[in-house]
């Protein structure tokens, strides 16, 4: 760009940005409704508009520097995919995984009650993220009603205990099946739809579930919710004194009572379930079914031309994702000891989606990290709790503009022939050439 023209262009840009921001931010943040009158807080939009303008000018200037130009060039170069292929020499990081597993198991010994609660919630979101990742990240089906399956799991335990005497373990075993069944019921109408229609229909489905939970007072307790029984371990209760004449956990083992045991127990079971789900999801990705999901995301018509039953494939993704959500719901219910419909709003679905998007659609490691960050960060930044949703929203837009593939780069597995002598020299030649 011609250097002489920069100041004029910059000035024009700055004025434009300032005026635009004033119009956008002016009324809503500058004039606060109090009854039928407004309170004058016009200083706020002035500050916001100035910040936005200065930010814009600095950004433009930065892009004119050599560093900025290199950045633009790099963005242009990698914007295409950001997906790479393994070289085939990667080793599975056994040591790191073992350490992570051991630290995870030992966590309750290090944490207090508060952080244990945070960790349980974080792991629940890891589970939800892993489930939604199958549907959105791998199969490419944008599901905005994922929270419905979460609700199914949670209410299964609450209502199952109330009407059928179902316990924690029974619910844990049933939840994946029932949630998968709900996934199937939802999937049938939506399978014929493409991207955005699918998103809206799943959203509608999620809302229907929530509204029914809210309005069916006689059965679900409506907005008042329903109580959830505490878990038991081999029939032992985690209470100070046993309610039904059994032996409480601490008496059985001859240790002193602590209210924490219940949460230790929930945490450990949840942790093992999460570990198992991570293993299974990773296996699925390198199995034919996982490849079919990803192929379906890439090109449905090509899939059909290869004899892939696209309906069954989508159905399997939906059902597996849903069952993971259902399991997460059971843990949520047992941890809270109480469920009501406000826990299952669209915002939860959006949060789970944010986890999957931030982690990188399709990446297991990314989803786990994003779930931990997005649930633990708000706890650390309690003072900014008000701005939590705002930050999520900004994060989603920025991620899509800046890195639609998420923070963790996707690596595709490499394959080599085991015994094809004809192919080996060619491969060697190719490697030599590189």
């Amino acid at each position: 760009m011609d250097n002489a023209k920069i100041p004029a262009k910059l000035l024009k840009e700055a004025v434009f940005t300032f005026v635009l921001s004033l119009i956008v931010f002016g009324p809503i943040s500058g004039l606060v409704l109090t009854g039928f009158t407004v309170e004058n807080k016009l200083a706020r939009p002035l500050i916001i508009a100035s910040v936005v303008t200065i930010g814009r000018v600095l950004f433009t200037l930065f892009l004119e520097t050599s560093l900025g130009r290199r950045l633009i060039a790099r963005m242009a170069g990698t914007a295409g995919s950001g997906v790479t292929v393994e070289s085939g020499n990667e080793r599975f990081p056994y040591a790191a995984v073992a350490i992570a597993f051991a630290v995870g198991l030992a966590f309750p010994l290090m944490a207090d009650e508060y952080w244990l609660g945070v960790a349980i919630l974080a792991l629940i979101y890891v589970l939800l993220g892993l489930g939604l990742n199958i549907v959105v990240g791998l199969a490419g089906l944008l599901d905005l009603g994922f929270v419905a399956f979460y609700a199914v799991g949670a209410y299964l335990l609450a209502l199952g205990a109330q009407y059928l005497g179902l316990g924690f373990w029974g619910a844990l075993a049933l939840a994946p099946l029932i949630a998968a069944f709900c996934g199937m019921v939802l999937a049938f109408p939506v399978l014929r739809m493409h991207g955005d229609y699918l998103a809206i229909v799943t959203l509608g489905f999620g809302e229907i579930i929530r509204l029914v939970l809210n309005n069916w007072l006689d059965f679900t307790g409506g907005p008042n919710g329903a109580a959830v029984p505490a878990p038991t371990f081999l029939g032992l209760e985690f209470t100070r004194t046993a309610r039904q004449g059994g032996t409480p956990f601490h008496e059985f083992f001859g240790i002193s009572y602590s209210a924490d045991y219940k949460f230790w127990f929930i945490y450990l079971v949840l942790f093992l379930v999460v570990a198992a789900v991570i293993y299974v999801v990773n296996r699925l990705k390198s199995m034919p079914i996982g490849r079919l999901w990803e192929a379906l995301r890439e090109d449905e018509i090509a899939c059909r031309s290869l004899g892939v039953n696209h309906v069954a494939t989508k159905l399997s993704a939906f059902m597996l994702g849903a069952s993971t959500g259902g399991v997460a719901g059971v843990f949520f219910a047992v941890h809270q000891g109480f469920v009501n419909p406000t826990s299952f709003t669209f915002f939860e679905s959006a949060l789970i989606l944010a986890i999957v998007v931030l982690g990188g659609l399709g990446s297991t490691l990314g989803v786990v990290m994003a779930a931990l960050v997005l649930t633990i960060l708000p706890e650390v930044l309690r003072d900014f709790a008000e701005y939590r949703v705002l930050v999520f929203g900004i994060l989603m837009v920025v991620m899509m503009v800046w890195r639609p593939r998420g923070l963790v780069r996707i690596k595709r597995p490499a394959f080599f022939p085991s015994s094809a002598p004809a192919a080996v020299p060619a491969l060697a030649a190719a490697e030599a050439a590189q």
Binding site: F205, E207, L361, R388, M396
Partner: protein, 305 residues
């Protein structure tokens, strides 16, 4: 007696339906030109409700008493500011994503939706807000005990929606901008080759969609008097249902879809259950998408292989 109940539900349904139609316009036009569901549209409508109430309060503080003048100036100001919102959102969150993955614009739109809700909540507070009653009174039909009525505000809604739709139809059918819109809708790349500034057209569509939603926002606000930062969500889904019902991408379809949805919803609320009227609307959406995804006025799209 039954006749009056039915008549009342029909009046309510048509009023509600014309609002749905106004908001559905934004979905349908945007979908027409860039094949994307502008998920944040419902929240743009929500912003317009706040802008309308704020403008009205400012007018009052300047001592403006004339009701017609107040309504018209609120409409003009709200349409302008909401239109700027539409323009900015497209520019910031959607334009950089053209040619990105299929999911990217949708996720970005959800981000904008969360941002708008949260921004309004932080700036204006989470409590319900209200506006004073501007137009009261009604036309009544029937006896003192059994009657159906149409309030003057409902009449204002019907007139204003009709005028807005007429202006819009004129804009799309007879102006250069409208011609370029329709060309872009048919084929964006060819239009660009033929010298249509498609970026500008897409921006205009967002502005028009937002401004039309603002008309709906102003009317709803004046009619019901109360709103909060969350109203955009349900209204967004319903207006989208209306757009799909009529055949997404079709302007007359959006109006027809709005009226059909408004009427059926009012009848459902009147005769079956008020608690489940939203469930009814959402279920209707699923059923339509399953059996007739191209809507009442749309044509089935031939799958290109």
């Amino acid at each position: 007696m039954d006749f009056y109940i039915l008549a009342q539900q029909l009046v309510n349904g048509i009023t509600l339906g014309s609002i749905y139609g106004l908001i559905a316009v934004g979905y349908t036009m945007v979908y027409g030109v860039i094949r994307m569901i502008n998920f944040a549209h419902g929240d743009v409508y929500m912003v317009s409700a706040y802008v309308a109430a704020i403008t009205l309060a400012v007018l009052h503080s300047f001592g403006v008493d004339s009701v017609p003048f107040a309504i018209i100036s609120v409409l003009v100001v709200t349409c302008f500011i909401t239109g700027v919102y539409g323009w900015t959102i497209e520019r910031v969150a959607y334009r950089p994503l053209r040619g990105s993955t299929k999911l990217a614009p949708l996720i970005s739109a959800i981000g904008i939706s969360l941002m708008l809700q949260s921004y309004v909540q932080v700036a204006q507070g989470a409590r319900d807000q209200g506006v004073p009653v501007l137009v009261s009174g009604a036309l009544r039909l029937g006896t003192d005990k059994d009657f159906a009525q149409i309030t003057y505000m409902q009449l204002v809604i019907l007139v204003a929606s009709f005028v807005a739709m007429a202006i819009l139809t004129y804009l799309i059918s007879y102006t250069t901008l409208g011609r370029q819109c329709r060309a872009t809708q048919q084929n964006r790349h060819i239009s660009a080759v033929l010298g249509v500034n498609t970026d500008r057209i897409i921006s205009s569509v967002f502005v028009i969609g937002a401004a039309t939603a603002a008309v709906g926002g102003v009317l709803v606000t004046f009619n019901y008097g109360s709103f909060n930062f969350f109203i955009g969500f349900v209204m967004g889904i319903k207006a989208f249902t209306a757009a799909v019902l009529g055949g997404i991408g079709s302007l007359p379809g959006a109006i027809l879809g709005g009226l059909v949805l408004g009427l059926t919803e009012a009848l459902f609320a009147g005769y079956v259950s008020t608690d489940y009227k939203d469930v009814f609307a959402f279920a209707l959406l699923i059923v339509i998408l399953f059996f007739r995804p191209y809507g009442l006025l749309g044509r089935p799209e031939i799958q290109k292989v």
